[in-house]
């Protein structure tokens, strides 16, 4: 996993609540057995006017000019700004894979769905929860200013705006540690294999029906 230490990035505003993972990456693209290649299909149904399918050359497809991702000023954005309950619905990890593949390393919203939030950390994406009062200002400033950038420092847990305002955010220590160092948590868990074996042996005595 790619480590996340800090990020100075262009912000793309997606001004709606309840952005679900079906919208982030529609089902037909879940047929792939790879972890990469989903970027061109990110937000497919909002982004293109035709019906997308696996293996399409997206450079030839008709773009929806009204969708924020197709506006010139947001090209190259690496921070996505959205509203409540971002990432709700399906557990598909293809959603963070698609965001990452399209260049997004950070999503800012007032709340996230649990599974999506967790999936982000497994893929080097930092989800940041900000309070509603700050969110409205971020949206307003982002719409008002071209090339609107934010500076994120994970170690300090801060988000800095172009005007110099600094917002702090919270993140679990363990998740932060893994993200800062790009750690694979399977390896960490396997360091506890004796504890897992001990637990299993005990449970086989207590609840043998779980092991038949």
């Amino acid at each position: 996993m790619q480590a996340f230490i800090s990020l100075d990035g262009l912000v793309m505003p997606l001004d709606r609540a309840n952005v679900d993972t079906d919208a982030i990456i529609p089902k037909q693209f879940l047929k792939s057995i790879k972890r990469t290649g989903y970027g061109p299909f990110l937000f497919d149904e909002w982004r293109y006017l035709d019906v997308g399918d696996v293996g399409m050359d997206c450079s030839q497809r008709p773009l929806n000019p009204d969708f924020v991702m197709n506006q010139a000023r947001y090209q190259g954005a690496s921070i996505l700004l959205s509203r409540d309950n971002f990432g709700c619905g399906s557990s598909r990890e293809h959603a963070p894979w698609a965001l990452l593949d399209a260049g997004f390393r950070c999503v800012i919203a007032p709340s996230f769905a649990d599974i999506f939030y967790n999936n982000c950390f497994k893929n080097g994406i930092l989800p940041i929860v900000v309070a509603h009062e700050h969110l409205d200002t971020l949206f307003a400033d982002c719409f008002a200013n071209e090339a609107y950038q934010l500076s994120i420092d994970l170690a300090a847990q801060t988000l800095k705006t172009p005007s110099g305002d600094v917002l702090s955010f919270s993140v679990d220590d363990f998740r932060k540690h893994c993200l800062l160092h790009g750690l694979d948590d399977i390896g960490l868990t396997l360091q506890q294999q004796d504890a897992i074996s001990t637990y299993e042996a005990k449970r086989k005595q207590e609840a043998p029906w779980l092991f038949s």
Partner: protein
């Protein structure tokens, strides 16, 4: 100290506690399907790791499988590759699989309980958000992403932070015209799709304990639509009766010992929850969603709300955008909405009780002439077989329904079953998101009885 049902199951599965308070949670059962597992198996191979405990896993292909002409295989080469990858991975790593040609194949959340592979007090995971279904058995069951699928395969554990607890009590007796599905949709309409975020739910009260296991599974299935990864129902005689005699259920001395342990799986009388809601079952009428989020629902006897009734501007914008997508106007009575298509199936509503409820409404009647397609998709090969033994297939076919092979089908339209642009569907599935059943498709979530009644009438209708 008094414990909630959740606390009891959680505490029994703690392998170790980390410095930051997170724990290593042991996983008893791992359900696997073809869509969210191939990258996890690849990860194992790349790191040269073996599954920790193969007998804890069960796999079956469901999302991509065709519901017609199955003997001819899968015509879409990309879908075929994914299903073949599951077959190969299960073979390579020694994981139990019910493949596409096995009578036991079906939707993973239907097959697990049906085979007796889901038992009370278990921890259950699957790379699928509707894993919450298994909370009906007092199993702590949750959806996970593919990285965690790999983590569970490799370690039989997950790193978890303890969620908060919420009890939702539904008092009194539910109308005969309503089901577990209507309770689920009603609760989501009340607390919202993020109402349960960060919580494990427990459903309690007379209306819940009156439900069959099928009804409880429909209800817990949709806990995720309220934002909760898991929803639980306490063990009672209904639970125990369901489990006995299934292929992988315990027997003899094992069952006796298990029964004693399972009888403890309820919240202690003075247990404290972080949040509590209470609803009256008498206030619940058959539910119909009108928008593009499961929380946008009302009773079948109601109307689409007015934009002026939204609680704030963000909700008003969401409603406006939903109505545009759905091609509907504020204030329209639900029963004035004409439909084009009917889908009865999905991990929410494809069990034998669901098919029986729909067949009762349909018997001796005809699907309305404006209905372009009406599908019945069983949750498993065994359910399809059971329904055929009861003659339900004949009732449906005579009425004009198509009788299909088991799978996820039009719930998410990964196979060939999908809505065309603008088509409106009464669906017993769980999500009405934009494009869920096909780009531009319009989904109304309902119970099997309401879907069946809508097929006959050509529009939504009150079955009471």
């Amino acid at each position: 100290m008094a414990k909630t049902l959740f606390d009891k199951v959680w505490d029994q599965h703690i392998v170790s506690t980390n410095d930051d308070g997170s724990i290593l949670l042991y996983i008893d059962r791992h359900l696997i399907h073809e869509v969210t597992s191939p990258q996890a198996f690849d990860g194992l191979r790349m790191a040269n790791r073996q599954p920790w405990r193969c007998d804890a896993a069960m796999a079956t292909p469901d999302h991509n499988v065709p519901t017609t002409q199955r003997d001819q295989g899968i015509s879409d080469p990309v879908s075929r590759t994914q299903v073949q990858a599951l077959d190969q991975n299960c073979q390579e790593f020694g994981i139990r699989e019910f493949d596409m040609h096995d009578i036991r194949q079906g939707i993973v959340h239907v097959v697990g309980p049906e085979q007796g592979l889901i038992l009370p007090g278990m921890t259950v995971v699957c790379g699928d958000s509707h894993t919450s279904t298994h909370g009906a058995f007092s199993a702590l069951a949750m959806g996970i992403g593919t990285s965690e699928v790999e983590h569970v395969l490799a370690t039989q554990c997950l790193i978890q932070k303890k969620p908060k607890t919420m009890r939702i009590t539904v008092n009194n007796t539910l109308s005969d015209a309503c089901s577990g599905k209507d309770i689920a949709l009603y609760i989501i309409a009340q607390i919202g799709t993020a109402g349960g975020t960060g919580y494990t739910l427990e459903f309690a009260g007379k209306a819940i304990t009156d439900l069959s296991m099928e009804g409880r599974m429909s209800l817990c299935n949709m806990a995720i639509e309220a934002g909760a990864r898991s929803g639980l129902v306490a063990v009672d005689q209904t639970t125990l009766d369901y489990i006995v005699g299934r292929p992988f259920s315990p027997t003899g001395e094992n069952l006796k010992q298990a029964n004693a342990a399972w009888s403890q799986l309820h919240s202690d009388p003075d247990a404290v929850f972080d949040c509590e809601y209470s609803f009256d079952a008498q206030a619940i009428s058959p539910q119909v969603t009108w928008g593009t989020s499961p929380e946008m629902g009302v009773g079948v006897d109601g109307s689409i709300p007015l934009l002026s009734q939204a609680k704030d501007d963000v909700q008003r914008e969401s409603w406006k955008s939903a109505l545009t997508y759905m091609g509907l106007s504020q204030g329209t009575p639900i029963q004035d909405i004409q439909i084009d298509s009917v889908f009865i199936g999905s991990c929410t509503n494809s069990r034998i009780e669901d098919l029986r409820a729909a067949s009762k409404v349909v018997k001796g009647k005809q699907v309305a002439s404006n209905i372009k397609q009406a599908l019945i998709v069983s949750g498993s090969g065994l359910i399809k077989q059971q329904a055929e033994a009861e003659g339900l297939d004949v009732i449906f076919k005579e009425a004009g329904f198509e009788w299909r092979e088991p799978g996820c089908s039009m719930c998410l339209a990964m196979n060939a079953d999908r809505l065309a642009e603008g088509e409106r569907c009464a669906s017993t599935s769980n999500r009405n998101f934009e494009g869920r059943q096909g780009k531009g498709g319009r989904t109304h979530l309902v119970s099997p009885a309401i879907a069946a009644a809508a097929a006959i009438a050509g529009h939504f209708t009150d079955i009471r």
